[in-house]
Amino acid sequence: MKTVLSLSVNGTTRDDVIPDNMLLVDYLRENIGLTGTKVGCDGGECGACTVLINDRPRHSCLTLAVTCQGARIETVDGLSRDNRLSALQRGFDEKLGAQCGFCTPGMIMASEALLRANPKPDEAAIRNALAANICRCTGYVKIIEAVQFAAEIANEIADEALAS
């Protein structure tokens, strides 16, 4: 009960033989060593494992890897482009949206999905998009500020990337 899984992870296409019962989070963390994605609960309750599948957020702890055949997976490990922090990575750093940093990968990926669909979200939209992600450190105030900041600087960063 093994399958060849062909997919793209952080922009790189790959083929891996995996057992049918393997969770996406285990595939990412254990098989291909992308440990940026975190596990905070026993299934679906905390959001720490959130990754993007075809631009949309999803719990990798409740996803079987074989169902990602042909999909485009993105994790926090691959968000920095050309060795520059992404707007959200900068936002969570500079605005202290990350204290211990354990919820951060999931928070950033859920926020990334939001900003791709809605580049100028208001506070309510940010809250609604992050409502499946638990943070135990920040009380969320600075997480909201981090996403707002990222939305503001996103264009700036895109311009810089073009210029360089």
Partner: protein
């Protein structure tokens, strides 16, 4: 290097908002937490847990598990050399239960195997024969006359009974114009840091040495307990703290999983990774105990408090842990916030067949504060006083010693009150909020580290090493555990500020026992104060070395050297030397520069001798907080919405205002969870809440905006005047909330968490009472 026109000024690092020095690792996924370490040969460690709440272990047979192909080690208590614990006087836990299990889920055996499936299968093959014993899940049952003792050396299942009677309570009550009592119950709550407990242990069979990466706030304690449990020399163990996904006190003592990882790695003579599930992390517990508080306060008509008489009963769980400290704090920390002198206290810490409690953010103070601040609010209402006025009627004047001999050297509560009152527009809004809306307020405080360490060895409280080599970067070596609270950043700031250099010159290496100086750990908000001071001391020593070198090179006297951080010079006309040039000079003949800084508390801060345990509470400085909470209650469902929180926190000098805000917001919000939705619940000692659906950590939806006012009542002994920022504002949220609900709905909640079912009952009772009194009239 031109200095003529625009004069050089040293770089300022203190008082400036700074992102965390390890921020980018966290936002890129590069930060390595314990469960992130892997290697092809790492074995999977799994733990067999007791299904019984209280039972004698008659027999453990691991032979079948050991025979299973792929199983590399099976360990039981037989592999442990000694018990462990956190207080030297109460080490009554074993990494794996010896002879008896005392709560459901207590570790009994553990296996290391080549993969999860094999490890799981091996657990199923371990045979344990138990003889069940009567079990006690409430403090009252455990204290019953005929109850069996959980521990022989703790008769009556009393971990510790404490009391004090200071001032003259009876006379104080007699002098009061109003005396009121309250009976408060607060549920047990759990830290639920986002990272489940984990440890990665590597055993070097050739040298018989262990290297371990545990998810801990106290690497030094883990080190000590590993050597004790494993019967190994301290020097053969290396503890490296990886990134830590929060702690809030759940990791201020050694956990079984840390020890089990070590035991398994040694027995397997290899590498073992133990990663607990969320359920197991809940079972490990170490949260805040369920408490029952009875409190009586006497007050003058002007709000002056004349006497306080209270008792606290805590359900402590199956082992001692920090229990003695928690119950002592529950009493002693009534002092230090207000000018009160006559207080009587009686406390009982009870052992029960539930997971052991520990030290949760705001350790010991939270529930006492909840009882007190709710009671005096009601008394204020009855006396026709404003809640702010009542607090102002009882302010301390620093410097002073409290009745139980706690040193209060700096005190910003008055300013906190002013800020919270103004920011919330209290004066114009209070009482005019409209139906189902209310405002409530309360105050709180916390220590900046215990002045007397638990393990008294005569060493300084904190030690920092600084190392500078030919590359002219400064490496700060600290044993203090960065757990997300920003301690590494604070240390870098203290060093940068003292030297006047840019923080980018400084690299912090934290918590690797082979490299960094010992530190007691991150708990009771000690790090900023003690390690911050040690950092300053080290930086001053480094500065002296550099100034001496600059003087040599410039051929002037050291006292004539002007140190401007990046430039050392003889005066404004002098072009001076760059930092790098000074370093090169300093290395001549000496080689790599290493300097040390230390910090010691002063004896006046050690707490008094007025009663047994009076030293618990002694601290160098208290932080203060006042907050206002605004709520709206849904009259249909009794759901409470917190619309906004305004919180003022006196942290002394705010070394990093950004981090202070983050810490204060996190504390207030954690108080909110405890006040409104979080509680542990058991079914015959089995956790009903061992997941993040039934244990309800607030989501972003119901979490309010929290506006922070930083109050800087600098402490004379604090690093640049700083005190703690990470705990003090937690406990005032709880009473501020119930005070706001009282304002909105006219009912007093005394049972936390105030979930909608409890509030609905209060509202229905009120409606019934009104009806009944209407009928009676």
């Amino acid at each position: 290097m031109s200095t003529s026109e625009q004069d050089i000024i040293p770089v300022q690092s203190i008082g400036v908002p700074k992102p965390l020095v390890d921020g980018p690792e966290k936002t890129t996924g590069k930060a390595m937490f314990a469960a992130d370490f892997q290697s092809i040969e790492a074995l999977v460690g799994r733990i067999l847990r007791s299904p019984h709440a209280h039972a004698n272990i008659i027999r453990i047979d691991t032979s079948k598990a050991e025979a299973l192909p792929g199983v590399k080690a099976v360990v039981t208590e037989a592999d442990c050399s000694d018990s462990y614990g956190v207080l030297p006087i109460a080490m009554n836990e074993w990494a794996l239960a010896r002879g008896r299990v005392r709560y459901r889920g207590e570790p009994v055996a553990a296996v290391a195997a080549i993969n999860v499936a094999t490890a799981q299968a091996a657990l199923d093959l371990i045979e344990v024969t138990y003889e069940e014993l009567p079990a006690y899940f409430t403090a009252a049952d455990a204290r019953a006359d005929d109850a069996l003792d959980l521990h022989q050396e703790k008769p009556g299942n009393i971990e510790r009974e404490v009391d004090f009677d200071l001032g003259d309570v009876d006379q104080g009550m007699a002098a009061a114009d109003l005396i009121r009592e309250v009976d408060v119950r607060c549920a047990e709550v759990c830290q639920v840091q986002m990272e489940p407990h984990a440890a990665y242990a590597e055993y070097d069979p050739g040298r018989e040495r262990l290297t371990i990466r545990p998810s801990t706030q106290v690497p030094f304690y883990v080190h000590k307990m590993l050597s004790r449990t494993m019967g190994m020399a301290d020097s053969h163990i290396r503890v490296i703290k990886p990134h830590i996904g929060g702690g809030f006190g759940s990791r201020t003592e050694t956990l079984q999983s840390d020890l089990i990882a070590g035991l398994l790695a040694r027995k397997a003579r290899g590498t073992v990774r133990v990663v607990l599930s969320r359920e197991e992390t809940f079972i490990t517990h170490r949260g805040r105990p369920e408490s029952h508080i009875k409190m009586k306060v006497g007050m003058k008509a002007d709000g002056t408090i004349t006497a306080t008489d209270f008792s606290v009963v805590q359900r402590g769980g199956a082992y001692s842990g920090y229990g003695i400290v928690t119950i002592l704090y529950a009493g002693s920390m009534i002092f230090g916030l207000y000018d009160i002198s006559s207080v009587r206290f009686k406390g009982f810490r009870v052992l029960t067949n539930t997971p052991p409690c520990g030290a949760f953010r705001g350790h010991g103070t939270v529930k006492t504060r909840f009882a007190f601040e709710g009671l005096i609010d009601d008394m204020a209402t009855e006396l026709g006083l404003d809640p702010f006025a009542v607090r102002r009627a009882n302010l301390l004047v620093a410097p002073t010693m409290t009745e139980n001999d706690l040193l209060v050297n700096s005190y910003g509560l008055d300013q906190c009150l002013d800020w919270a009152e103004a920011a919330s527009a209290w004066k114009v809004r209070k009482g005019k909020m409209g139906p189902n809306k209310g405002l409530g307020m309360a105050c709180s405080h916390y220590i900046s580290g215990a002045s007397k360490p638990k393990h008294w060895t005569g060493e300084p409280h904190a030690t920092i090493h600084l190392r500078v080599d030919w590359d002219a970067s400064i490496t700060l070596l600290t044993g203090a555990a960065e757990i997300g609270q920003g301690s590494s950043t604070v240390m870098a700031q203290c060093v940068a500020e003292t030297l006047g250099v840019d923080m980018s010159r400084i690299r912090v290496i934290a918590s690797d026992s082979a490299v960094t100086p010992k530190d007691n750990g991150s708990y009771s908000s000690r790090v900023t104060f003690m390690v911050g001071n040690a950092s300053i001391d080290a930086a001053q020593n480094l500065k002296a070395t550099l100034v001496a070198a600059a003087a040599r090179k410039l051929e002037i006297a050291p006292e004539d050297v002007e140190c401007l951080g990046e430039v050392f010079r003889g005066g404004q006309q002098d072009q001076g030397l760059s930092f790098d040039e000074v370093v090169m000079e300093a290395l001549k003949g000496e080689g790599t520069i290493t300097v040390k800084g230390t910090y010691d508390t002063i004896p006046e801060s050690w707490g008094g001798k007025k009663y047994r345990g009076a030293a618990i509470g002694g601290t160098m400085a208290f932080s203060y907080a006042a907050q206002v909470v605004e709520v709206t209650v849904d009259p249909y469902t009794a759901e409470i919405t917190v619309d906004k929180v305004w919180v003022a926190h006196d942290c002394g000098r705010a070394l990093n205002p950004l981090a202070v805000e983050g810490q204060v917001q996190g504390s207030v919000w954690m108080g909110m969870g405890q006040a409104m939705s979080e509680e542990t619940q058991y079914h015959e000692g089995l956790l009903l809440h061992a997941n993040m659906l039934d244990y309800r950590v607030p989501t972003i939806i119901e979490s309010p905006p929290i506006e922070v006012g930083i109050i800087e009542a600098n402490d004379p002994h604090g690093p640049f005047g700083a005190k703690e920022a990470g705990e003090g504002s937690l406990s005032s949220f709880l009473p501020a909330l119930t005070n706001a609900v009282a304002d909105a709905m006219g009912v007093r909640a005394t049972d936390l968490p105030l979930t909608p079912d409890k509030l609905l009952e209060l509202l229905e009772k009120k409606a019934r009472d009104i009806k009944a009194s209407g009928r009676a009239a």
